[in-house]
């Protein structure tokens, strides 16, 4: 039995379009941010920030894909969808991406586990930063224990999301 994925091979002389190469990752991150439009009326922060998860997955899978400023437009879109104050994700995502760049220059050996660790730190930074911003911009006394469960399952969900991104990536680069 041949692996079904192998049926889909690049044909000689054909290349994926530029839109597919550059647009796919951006569109997937925006879809992740868009998931808050699901008709769930949540009583607490239950939905993991899928936009952030997909952004981190692409960044760690394909370091050469984006420059760090990509956090600005994608963060703005996430802010518009998420209900956080505008500017929150712009700041947190860009700082997280710069941080990942900084770490990458210092790590000699890296594998899947280190990627997960980097993503976990970035997720903790972004969710607690979002919690802090919600608190200071009129949110009153939101307790930290409200976002802690969200943080845990976002970190646990990272391996799954990174797999899906790898799958999409395979489709992306094959014509």
């Amino acid at each position: 039995m041949i692996d079904p994925h192998l049926h889909h091979v690049p044909r000689l002389g054909r290349y994926p379009s530029r839109f597919r190469l550059a647009g796919t990752p951006i569109i997937t991150v925006m879809i992740g941010s868009f998931l808050t439009a699901l008709p769930i009326i949540a009583q607490s922060a239950i939905l993991p920030p899928f936009g952030l998860l997909i952004l981190l997955s692409w960044r760690l899978l394909r370091p050469e894909l984006w420059r760090t400023w990509i956090g600005i437009p994608l963060g703005l879109f996430d802010d518009m969808m998420s209900g956080q104050p505008i500017g929150s994700a712009i700041f947190l995502w860009t700082i997280a991406l710069i941080g990942i760049d900084w770490v990458e220059h210092r790590m000699v050996w890296r594998s899947y586990r280190q990627d997960w660790l980097i993503a976990a730190v970035a997720i903790i930074f972004c969710i607690s930063g979002g919690w802090f911003f919600a608190r200071i911009t009129g949110g009153g006394s939101v307790s930290f224990s409200l976002v802690a469960p969200q943080m845990v399952w976002t970190i646990l969900l990272f391996p799954f999301v990174v797999r899906q991104c790898a799958r999409i990536d395979r489709w992306r680069v094959m014509a």
Partner: protein, 308 residues
Amino acid sequence: MARPPSRRPGINRRAQYSLFASYVVALVGAAIGLLLVVVAIFDPTGFAALRVAAAEVSRPASVTMKGMVSGVSSIDEVLAAYWQAGSQNVGLRRQVEADRNRIIESKAIAQENLRLKKLLKLVDEDSSDLLTARLIASSASSARRFARLNAGAWQGVRPGMPVRAPEGLIGRIHITTPNSADVLLLTDTSNIVPVRRASDNIPAISTGLGDGSVEIRALTAGRNPFKPGDLLVTSGIGGVYQPNIPVAVVVRAEGEIAYGVPLANPARVDAVVVERVFEEAVTRPGPSAPAVAAGAEAEASGGNAAAP
């Protein structure tokens, strides 16, 4: 795995500058983001215009999905109806016979009521309801509790208007866009509602806790008067909410604070009613009313519900 391809551009000057410029752009962008957050500290509803585009784009998607979800969630009811259909049919027929008499009785009572009201020259003029709409989405990934309403400024919804369901209070309009509005739910940590105990008028303040429950602080001196099972309704103080909308039921009392659960669950209610700001609805008639109403609305949208 060895390290991924390095982003260091080597000796290529141009590539070095380009990389450096990208970091500068990113840092400037991050600083602007931080600045926007700082602005939001002083003006939480600012930049609402930025959300307009997103809200308007996502609204059709949310409405469609909401319709699908309602359809799917009622499948089990349809299946359950087939179970014991015969005996249920007989039972329902008897019920209908019994109900018919009651309907005739209640019609007579309604007529009598109308007659008595005319006698008293009492005209029922409750025009506080503005419209009925559905909640279509929410800020499920954020620590704040907002829900999106499928009606907006073009339908007459204004910031500060109370939102309620038949079961009780849902919250208050926070931001409006042309066709949708963000509702600050009762359980949001910044939503403060003046309430009273339904049985004996003890005034209190309800503040959301962000986890689906509310915190209730009595305004009377002395020890905490609340005990589990107490029903709380809006007091009408502050002029935003009408009096006597059910708010929450107390489930636990600890020291000075009592904890309550809202009576209306925004995830369960089918449709919600947007009402006019109470003060506006009361003081509407008369030539000087518009100024008063505008003042009340500005107050309601500017800060939290005024504490009594």
